[in-house]
């Protein structure tokens, strides 16, 4: 048994670190990330263009599609360094979601058309999975696509669509046939967000932020060559996407950085009770981090951890949520004056410590983590079935 990284991997880590600390890193992004200010669409594009300029954008893609071809350990180290350098998350919708589906199941024309723009971040993708009536029971989706000549006519609606307000394209699960078994009859369709008949309406979350949206489709004409793979096989592609190794799902390095911030805050007033809770959180984080390493070691040997990654999702999000609670506890009564997620944009002097308002915004926002990506209850169902056999 040996948990250490190889010399080459450590050297790789150094190169990434040096690249992230270099002068090409967009200053606007760095400044806002350090202050905890919300990033604009332009900031996000700057960041992704920077990652592309370093040749890192296809970090989890094979070389033949323009990816880095990195090993699982290198991917792990790369994501770790990004988080430690307080980078925003690389948006998963194009790179980690639709991209792999296109290069695995798409035809050559589709690969040529879509993959380069994903790597260069010329297109912003969003995900059209959830619907008002189908949450955790995804296969119950109702958005309809009917083939008429060389176009599909799409009618229906999607919800909780993250950052659809910025998106150029959406990948959708649509029903092309009503079948006995609901998983059959689902197809995987790529849709240009500028197509007439698409309407995006904001959903404001309890923290006051505009992160998610409803997307309505009324007689939207979608060229049939934007169907991925075969009609009726969409569920297979969707499952492939969900099972596609989701590195970093536990969020360990981000929490590490935040815990250090929290410790600096609490050091000022020496609250023994809060310090103890932070220590307990750190212990849980250590256990989670090593569990992730165990999973990584298994992947590095060619294994496919299935249900075990549900542990990372469940415990990772629990820890993230507990962390936000501790920030709120640290802020005490100064959570009351609420500036919302864009608090730093206002001209008012914050009442109380400057971390107070963002803390409570984060607390409210992070309730989502145990709900999205397959709710934690669904994750427990997966473990119960796949591992415990009940």
């Amino acid at each position: 048994m040996d948990i250490s990284f190889s010399e080459q991997d450590l050297q790789f880590q150094e190169e990434i670190r040096a690249g992230l600390n270099g002068s090409e890193f967009p200053a606007n992004v760095r400044e806002k990330q350090e202050k905890g200010t919300a990033l604009t669409k332009a900031d996000m594009i700057d960041f992704h263009k920077f990652i592309h300029s370093k040749g890192w954008m296809g970090y989890n893609w094979p070389v033949e599609y323009g990816g880095t071809g990195w090993s699982p350990v290198q991917i792990y180290l790369f994501l770790n360094e990004l988080a430690l350098a307080q980078c925003p998350t690389i948006l998963p919708f194009g790179l980690s979601m639709v991209g792999p589906v296109i290069y695995t199941f798409g035809n050559q024309e589709q690969k040529d058309r879509f993959l380069p723009d994903i790597l260069e971040f010329n297109t912003w993708w969003c995900q059209g999975y959830s619907e008002p009536g189908s949450g955790s029971d995804l296969a119950s989706l109702k958005t309809k696509a009917v083939l008429e000549g060389d176009h599909y006519i799409v009618n229906g609606s999607k919800t909780w669509t993250t950052l659809a307000q910025n998106a150029d394209w959406i990948f959708c699960l649509v029903r092309t046939e009503t079948t006995q078994k609901k998983q059959e009859g689902i197809s995987f369709l790529l849709i240009d967000m500028n197509t007439p008949g698409i309407e995006v309406k904001p959903i404001i979350t309890i923290d006051g932020d505009h992160e998610v949206n409803s997307v309505f489709f009324t007689d939207v004409k979608v060229p049939a060559d934007q169907l991925i793979g075969e009609e009726g096989k969409g569920w297979t592609y969707a499952k492939f996407l969900l099972a596609h190794e989701r590195f970093g799902i536990a969020g360990v390095p981000v929490v590490k950085v935040q815990i250090e911030k929290l410790k600096n805050i609490t050091a000022e007033y020496n609250d023994a009770d809060l310090s103890k809770k932070i220590a307990e959180l750190e212990i849980d984080l250590e256990a989670l981090e090593f569990t992730e390493l165990r999973t990584l070691a298994a992947i590095a040997e060619g294994g496919h951890p299935g249900a075990e990654s549900s542990i990372l999702k469940i415990r990772g999000t629990e820890i993230q949520q507990r962390l936000t609670e501790l920030f709120v506890e640290a802020a005490g009564q100064y959570i009351l004056p609420y500036e919302g997620p864009d608090g730093f944009e206002s001209n008012r002097t914050p009442a109380g410590p400057d971390y107070a308002s963002p803390s409570v915004a984060q607390y409210l926002n992070y309730r989502k983590t145990s709900i999205y990506g397959g709710s934690n209850e669904i994750q427990k169902n997966i473990i119960a079935k796949a591992i415990l056999g009940v």
């Binding site: 048994m1 040996d2 948990i3 250490s4 990284f5 190889s6 350990v73 310090s275 103890k276 932070i278 220590a279 307990e280 750190e282 212990i283 849980d284 250590e286 256990a287 989670l288 090593f290 569990t291 390493l293 165990r294 990584l296 070691a297 298994a298 590095a300 040997e301 075990e308 542990i311 469940i314 415990r315 209850e377 427990k380 169902n381 473990i383 119960a384 591992i387 415990l388 056999g389 009940v390």
Partner: protein, 368 residues
């Protein structure tokens, strides 16, 4: 990066598993608990014959020169079957101290431990010092050339059976580890059963005379040797806890599949499924910290102490959750002494209390 056990380690695991399957079912174990010594002398002989008692010792001393990984393999399997033989006290604890000492007879003492004919226990706890074992009152005083030991030690594992004791005491304002024969004049031993069916002893020393060779380690050397012994002991009982957690959740899954209520197996109920998933998750997270601590201890990593504390906290919390859920899901059977499941809860409770409980190690971790 490779987290696989070696073939040799897997063979050891297989051997212990087989032994426990053959010799350690619940009824066998009950008989052992009812015996005077609280362990099976026959099993101990077999441990010796199988070479298990030689596992952690250096080759010079007749051992196999195995490290912490092999110990955790052994203890994980012991934990699954709730083995009560005094391996921790007689091999791990006393062995660690003896091997780290310069006692002239250490090789012959270790040889006798390996052959199973001799048992040594470490006496570290005292009545009024909680988990601050190094704040002990028991002392070795000097009168001319003569040394004498006075005081009392508490909760000495396997105390009623040990042939010798290694006693943590103060000598000339320094901590010392001293070797004392069990039949020496001035030493009285009172043996108790523990809550989980093992035994421990209360020791009283009244002018017990020692020679200078009895002092195995003194000062900083004694302190670091003692701390290392505590770290290794925590590692071993944590591995034991992981084994016991594994058995607890697996037995619970099995039971809920067989037990029918409302015309269906109770494993169909999602509330119970999620509780069992929680048991599984806590077991895996504990295993993670166990492996982390094992590898750090093996490589003398400076972070070892913190990780050991983190591990002990996780073992305490997870043991409580897994043990309580297992009892709850077994319903009335869970609280019956005739079912094994409640005995796991007892062992988790005992393990949490040893070498610093959850609270103690949270504080220690926090002060890092």
């Amino acid at each position: 990066m490779n987290l696989n056990y070696s073939d040799e380690q897997n063979m050891l695991r297989e051997q212990v598993l087989k032994f426990c399957e053959t010799n350690y079912d619940f009824i066998d174990r009950e008989k052992i608990l009812d015996s005077d010594s609280g362990y099976s002398e026959e099993n101990w002989k077999q441990f010796a014959e199988l070479g298990w008692l030689a596992v952690p010792f250096k080759e010079d001393n007749g051992g196999f020169n195995f490290g912490p990984i092999e110990l955790t393999v052994l203890f994980e399997e012991f934990g699954k079957a709730l083995v009560v033989e005094p391996y921790l006290s007689s091999v791990v604890m006393s062995g660690t101290v003896l091997e780290g000492s310069n006692h002239p007879d250490k090789s012959s003492i270790i040889e006798k431990i390996i052959s199973g004919e001799h048992q040594v226990s470490v006496a570290y706890a005292e009545a009024n010092i909680g988990y601050n074992f190094l704040d002990c009152v028991t002392a070795v005083s000097k009168d001319g050339d003569a040394l004498s030991l006075n005081g009392s030690k508490s909760l000495v594992l396997n105390g009623g059976n040990a042939d010798q004791f290694i006693v943590l005491a103060f000598h000339e304002n320094s901590p010392a580890l001293v070797l004392v024969d069990a039949d020496v004049k001035g030493l009285s031993v009172q043996s108790f059963k523990t809550l989980d069916g093992q035994t421990c002893g209360e020791l009283t020393f009244e002018n017990v005379s020692l020679n200078t060779e009895s002092i195995l380690a003194l000062g900083d050397e004694a302190e670091s040797l003692f701390n290392r012994m505590v770290d290794i002991s925590i590692l071993c009982i944590s591995a034991e806890a992981v084994g016991a957690m594994t058995s607890s959740y697996m037995k619970t899954v099995q039971y809920t599949k067989e037990r029918e209520q409302f015309a269906q197996p109770i494993s169909n109920f999602q509330v119970l499924q999620h509780r069992m998933v929680d048991m599984f998750i806590e077991t895996e997270l504990t295993k993670s910290l166990l492996i982390k601590a094992t590898l750090q201890l093996d490589s003398d990593d400076p972070e070892t102490g913190n990780t050991i504390s983190a591990l002990k906290v996780q073992v305490g919390k997870a043991g409580r959750l897994v043990g309580q859920h297992a009892v709850q899901l077994h319903g009335g059977m869970g609280v019956s002494n005739e079912m094994s499941i409640g005995h796991y809860l007892k062992r988790f409770t005992a393990i949490d209390s040893m070498f610093g409980n959850t609270q103690h190690h949270i504080n220690k971790y926090q002060a890092k």
